[in-house]
């Protein structure tokens, strides 16, 4: 049932590209209508044939009075079965759709439509009435999203994906600065975990500044559920939150709840903004500086540093090591799906650092032989010491380990999560640009701790599996 359902919009997929305005209105609804008609017809037909047979039997037997009881029974049974079948199909359809779409805003209306039709005998009328809402909700780009959403195999349905939500669709209470940030995140203009975190905190700071407590409410009680959560929901819808954002938001909510009930609104807002500023300074700005310095210390004269893709921390560490007069060269290994390494190579050559560039993993073993140290920056660190980073990191780290090269991971402690990942599928994100029915690409992978020689954080350099100890240490500070 659900596969048929999935198939229908996929066929319609090419259409929206050509005529994006008409397609979304028509196709999903049509599909649903056809679906439902088929289902109800099928079950009705089955019921009719059964009852027909029963009638024939009864007439053949010619004992009118004798068989009326049996006949009635059979008829009632058949009718019941038909009703059941009908109900079941409509339920299944609704269920299937609900399972595929995690957000009710996207596919909910069509599921509702189906239900409405299932109840009403006439298919056309309720469909027409229900059509009013979906057209409002379904703006043009959502058709593309719908198609992608549906195509992800159910096994991977727990993985989320960034999607562009038109500004018009966002909740009216979403703050303009958050709106813009959401767009930047959805388009991967702001990509790295730590830059996203910084941007989010700054946007929330603006939200706090422009917040006015409605009369009869207290900031500490009203702000989080009625303002902050809306912003967070919107941001999460644009792109799944990274772990650092989760950590920081938990912290921010705690700060809000800690605010003295008697404090004036001005005072409360000032305190919150100050707390955010300090948080950014301590956990991001100064942390980055320290990690850069410490990371750079591991680059020695004559080293060949291998960097995968481009990450600000790694770039900073390399530039810092260069600025201290260390003579070394860099081997930039790029992610063929997102060639940010070219940018890194350019920046480094501009500074006069010798750079070798490889566009993909071809000849990786040869490159790795030449390298002496491998630098990564973690998107997040799991509590079992696994490193969550750009897809491909694990492959590079494993090879480095096999060839006895040292793998150095740079990571701010805000990126450490209390969650655990033993594989790359538990937590991940689907590349919105590369997902089709046949295949999709994941953005990240998890590198087990044994492939990481050293984890540099602002608290100090530790083993990767000491990540939970750092978390505990951080809790002690608070």
């Amino acid at each position: 049932m659900s596969t048929e359902q999935n198939g229908a919009p996929a066929e319609a997929a090419p259409k929206p590209v050509e005529a994006p305005k008409d397609a979304p209105k028509e196709t999903p609804k049509e599909a649903a209508t056809n679906q439902n008609d088929k289902a109800s017809k099928g079950s009705k037909a089955g019921a009719e044939t059964k009852s027909d047979k029963a009638e024939q039997k009864s007439s053949d037997a010619a004992g009118d009075k004798k068989l009326t009881g049996a006949e009635l029974k059979a008829k009632a049974k058949a009718e019941k079965a038909a009703r059941r079948a009908q109900q079941k199909t409509s339920k299944d359809v609704a269920k299937g759709e609900a399972a595929v779409s995690s957000s009710p805003g996207q596919l909910g209306p069509s599921a509702g439509e189906v239900k409405a039709k299932g109840k009403g005998k006439d298919g056309a009328l309720p469909g027409a009435t229900a059509a009013g809402r979906p057209t409002l909700l379904k703006a043009p780009p959502s058709a593309v999203v719908t198609e992608q959403k549906i195509q992800i195999p159910e096994f991977f349905s727990h993985l989320s994906m960034a999607r562009r939500i038109p500004m018009t669709q966002a909740d009216k209470d979403v703050h303009p600065s958050v709106l813009m940030l959401g767009q930047q995140m959805a388009t991967f203009t702001i990509d790295e975990s730590i830059t996203r975190l910084r941007a989010t905190l700054l946007a929330f700071r603006k939200v706090i500044e422009s917040y006015i407590t409605p009369p009869g409410n207290v900031l500490a009680r009203h702000f989080t559920p009625h303002v902050l959560n809306i912003q967070i929901e919107y941001l999460t819808a644009c792109r799944p939150m990274c772990f650092s954002m989760g950590n920081a938001i938990r912290w921010l909510k705690l700060q809000v709840s800690k605010i003295d009930m008697d404090a004036s609104e001005e005072q409360a807002k000032k305190e919150l903004c100050q707390a955010i500023d300090i948080f950014i300074a301590e956990r991001i700005t100064v942390a980055d500086e320290y990690i850069t310095e410490q990371g750079a210390k591991h680059i020695k004269n004559g080293d060949v540093v291998l960097a995968y893709g481009r990450n600000t921390l790694v770039e900073k560490a390399i530039l810092y090591a260069h600025s201290t007069g260390t003579k070394f060269s860099v081997l930039v290994l790029d992610d063929p799906y997102e060639r940010l390494g070219q940018q890194l190579a350019k920046t480094l050559t501009d500074e006069g650092i010798m750079v070798t560039y490889s566009g993909d993993f071809g000849g990786l073993r040869n490159h790795m032989r030449r390298a002496t140290k491998v630098f990564f920056a973690a998107e997040a660190m799991f509590s079992n010491g696994a490193m969550y980073a750009r897809a491909g990191t694990c492959d590079v780290a494993m090879l480095a380990h096999e060839l006895g090269k040292k793998v150095i991971a740079l990571c701010e402690t805000i990126n450490i999560t209390e969650r655990v990942a033993t594989d790359s599928l538990t937590y991940n994100e689907i590349d919105p640009e590369r997902s089709s029915a046949a295949a999709f690409r994941l953005l990240f992978d998890a590198t087990p701790d044994q492939y990481i020689s050293l984890l540099v954080t602002e608290l100090g350099s530790v083993q990767a599996r000491s990540a939970p100890d750092l978390l505990r240490k951080l809790e002690e500070f608070n």
Binding site: K297, H298, K300, K373, K406, I408, S453, L454, L459, G460, S461, V462, Q463, R465, S466, D469, L470, K473
Partner: protein
Amino acid sequence: MANVQDGAATRDLPLRGTNADAESFDIVATYHRLLQEDPDLTMPMAAIEALIEFLGHSQVKTVYETIDLVKTQSEKLQAAVRNPIALSHGTDLFSQYLIMSLKQPASSSGSNGAGSKSSPPLDNPHESFEVVRQHLLRNSRLFATRAKNARERIAANGRKHLHDDTTILTMGGSRVVGNMLCRAAAKHDYGWYTDPPRRFRVLYAVDPALQAESNGVVESLRAQGIQVATIPFTALAYAMGQVDQVIVGAEAVTANGGIISSMGTYSLAVLAKASRKPLYVAAEQHKFGKTFPVDNFDFSFDQEVINFYSANNKEDKAKKVPMPDPIDFTPPELIESFFADHKVLTPDEVAKEVIDMLM
């Protein structure tokens, strides 16, 4: 704490005098003198004692000033020696200890002024800080003497892991290991029960560079009635088949549970691992530190042990001066466990302890 600092900054004018006092004190000379005076002193402990002596000399008035001065003196000390690892572990430990002990009294007196003492905090910040400082100096002495007893406690902890009729391989003239083996050969009174002496043999690999120390340890072991055989370093792999366990000392213990020790320890550890013999490290807790080398060339200094030259450019040889006491780094994978003065622990536990203690 803020009160203490503010009060001092506004009221205390003759700051210059204290600085002059601090500058006249030569921490580097003190450190070397301490090491010379007491051959039993380890490098981290000598660093700590030098810092304490410095604190006794200086007339610091504020908490911040104290911490700042200790920091600059530590840096001065570290810059003065070629291999500052062990020393820095001592200074790190001391400054951490300082911060902790200065924090606690200040915060407790700040929160509830009516403490058990005469509660001077608000009226007289100088006095309260002086109390803290004196208390600190006394505590620091205690801290130093306690650290000196560590060797005996290591011997008591380690003897449980030595067994009769075994052969123990060691090297490098470590006093901790020497002491531990000597104590194990005698009976030990735990109080509730007396541990009988262990009967074991010792295989001593002698490094020509550490001949004098090694001979000293070998002689003291033989004096205890322990059977000792000495072998040259080249015979290590050959002799490994006869060995049951390997015990070495360490100059410093790194943040990942590896050790920094005299050159050759790493080779020994690799050979022990290859023959599947457990390697134990006897080291005091004060040797633990934040240093985290990823490999043997990841130190802040160049040992200049490796020196390429050919007949054509012999003058190159003169350019490099190999470090007099070369060291190497043994990664935690090769270490079975540590005999420390407070307990016996695995490399992972060491890593955890370093994070808890120093980060």
